[in-house]
């Protein structure tokens, strides 16, 4: 069990994670950012339906379950973003004609849900020990009415914001893997938000490193 508190004046809310907390999935993790919490489970490599089989790589399926009700169009759009981000990070050519399934269960949404999903997904993939070419993390930025950039906004801040952007940042060269935006903003604001997210991502990647280190130092 790993938990880390971000320092005073930090741009991110308090965040923490727990790996390997479910017994059935091949890898699982929970990720908490402030009051937002997501639980992730990974199954795979497993057998794949013939209709979904890809001859030279593994098929990845992502399911996002909302806290209440059925998954809607919004979840579908998020699933697509998470899936394509994971596909770019996973070395799926090492498991041809097999399937990976990633299930993300929203536990509580207090803003920045998609970035929390991405972080939980990455932690769960690491826990499952799947081959990955790089890691990724999610950062959400909101631009408020006074054009201030807020990273990792709460649901209230999201509601009051003029624009909302979520990025997935790559661990290799800190470039942008995924971007999903809402509202209108200038090119300069986009570039500022990317820069802020890249900075924030360094903290999350350090957190990944620390949590893996702590976990394996216990076993060895």
């Amino acid at each position: 069990f790993v938990e880390e508190r971000s320092g005073v004046g930090s741009v991110l809310r308090e965040y923490g994670s727990e790996q390997n907390l479910l017994s059935k999935p091949d890898g699982s993790a929970s990720f908490i950012q402030g009051d937002t919490s997501v639980l992730a489970g990974v199954y795979g490599p497993a057998e794949v339906k013939v209709s979904k089989e890809i001859y030279d790589r593994a098929t990845l399926e992502v399911v996002i379950q909302p806290k209440v009700g059925m998954a809607s169009v919004r979840e579908r759009a998020r699933e697509q973003c998470v899936r394509e981000t994971c596909e770019a990070a996973l070395l799926s050519t090492l498991h041809p004609r097999s399937s990976f399934t990633l299930v993300l269960q929203e536990v509580h949404d207090d803003g920045s849900l998609l970035s929390c999903c991405l972080n939980a997904a990455c932690m769960a993939l690491m826990d499952a020990g799947l081959p990955m070419g790089r890691l990724f993390c999610g950062v959400t930025c909101a631009i408020d009415a006074e054009s201030q950039i807020i990273t990792d906004p709460t649901a209230q801040q999201e509601k009051e914001s003029r624009a909302l952007m979520t990025f997935a940042i790559d661990s290799k060269d800190c470039s942008v893997m995924m971007s999903l935006t809402k509202g209108s903003f200038s090119v300069k604001e986009l570039q500022q938000c990317i820069a802020v997210s890249q900075k924030a991502s360094e903290r999350i990647f350090q957190f990944y490193r620390d949590s893996v280190q702590r976990r394996y130092s216990k076993i060895l």
């Binding site: 998470v82 770019a88 997935a168 290799k172 942008v176 809402k182 209108s184 903003f185 090119v187 990317i194």
Partner: protein, 277 residues
């Protein structure tokens, strides 16, 4: 020989063209396919438009209905976009409930409408907490050859500009809505968003306006939506290979140039239909 090479090694086939800075269909890397537009093609809808980008054909029909506004936004109307990818348009789509791509496209269009404020939802309100317009924007793809989102945004914008709604008043005595079909008004279009899509090949080469084949081989797809004030309304990149901020900036610069092109096209078509009347 070339046909066999294309079937056996599609990626290598495309690479050999990209090396020479051109593409299998003869375009340059930064060249869009010819775009044609036709408005008012559906008589039974309140507004419609058909757009072709290369082979990709998308049609949009706008239907206005009257409804009561929701209680948490009593002074706002509704805009309900829906993107349909029927089996007719490509073999990759199966009959049945909408697939992931169709749902993601619908969500994208909804985000663009909300983000750009293309129409102020307050303008759709007829009487506060009593009556408002619901605009159903049904977008249907007739021929799928890549770059669906660009085509959807162009057809949506053109159809909204083509839309005419009858004037509706509420009779004070009977408290019933009276519709005056004789007097139709155009919608107040607030912003003119235009989307530009890019595909990334082998994590490095960026090409604009990808065809379906190029889309399936690309390592990432980027869609940038800009308006006339060079503000971004959406910057959508659903995963794929990572790109530096400079490359993204390059995409946005091209998207701004594309906006001018499409803006002129829509203006011209709207003008010509007015003149023919």
């Amino acid at each position: 020989m070339a046909a066999g090479f294309k079937t056996a090694e599609p990626l290598e086939y495309h690479r050999s063209f990209l090396k020479e800075n051109c593409r299998p269909d003869g375009r340059e890397l930064g060249e869009f396919r010819p775009t044609t537009l036709n408005t008012g093609s559906i008589n039974t809808a309140d507004g419609s438009a058909l757009v072709r980008i290369g082979n990709t054909t998308v049609i949009c029909g706008i239907k206005g209905e009257l409804a009561a506004p929701s209680t948490d936004a009593p002074d706002k109307g509704y805009i309900v976009p829906n993107v349909d990818l029927p089996p007719l348009c490509s073999s990759r789509f199966r009959p049945g409930p909408p697939g992931e791509q169709a749902q993601a496209a619908s969500q994208f269009i909804a985000d663009v409408i909300d983000g750009s404020q293309i129409i102020k939802k307050e303008d759709l309100c007829i009487e506060k907490s009593k009556l408002c317009w619901v605009l159903y924007c049904d977008i249907m793809c007739l021929d799928y050859d890549g770059n669906l989102l660009d085509a959807c945004v162009v057809t949506l914008l053109a159809a909204l500009r083509n839309t005419q709604l009858p004037t509706v008043t509420i009779n004070k005595e009977t408290d019933l809505a009276e519709v005056d079909i004789q007097h139709k008004r155009h919608l107040q279009i607030n912003k003119h968003p235009v989307a530009s899509s890019f595909a990334v090949f082998d994590d490095t080469v960026i090409i604009v306006d990808p065809t379906a084949e190029e889309e399936s081989l690309a390592t990432a797809i980027i869609t940038a939506v800009t308006d006339e004030d060079e503000q971004l309304c959406a910057f959508h990149k659903p995963g794929g290979s990572s790109l530096s901020a400079e490359k993204l900036q390059d995409c946005i610069t091209r998207a701004v140039a594309r906006h001018r092109e499409i803006g002129r096209l829509i203006d011209k078509v709207i003008e010509s239909t007015k003149a023919s009347k």
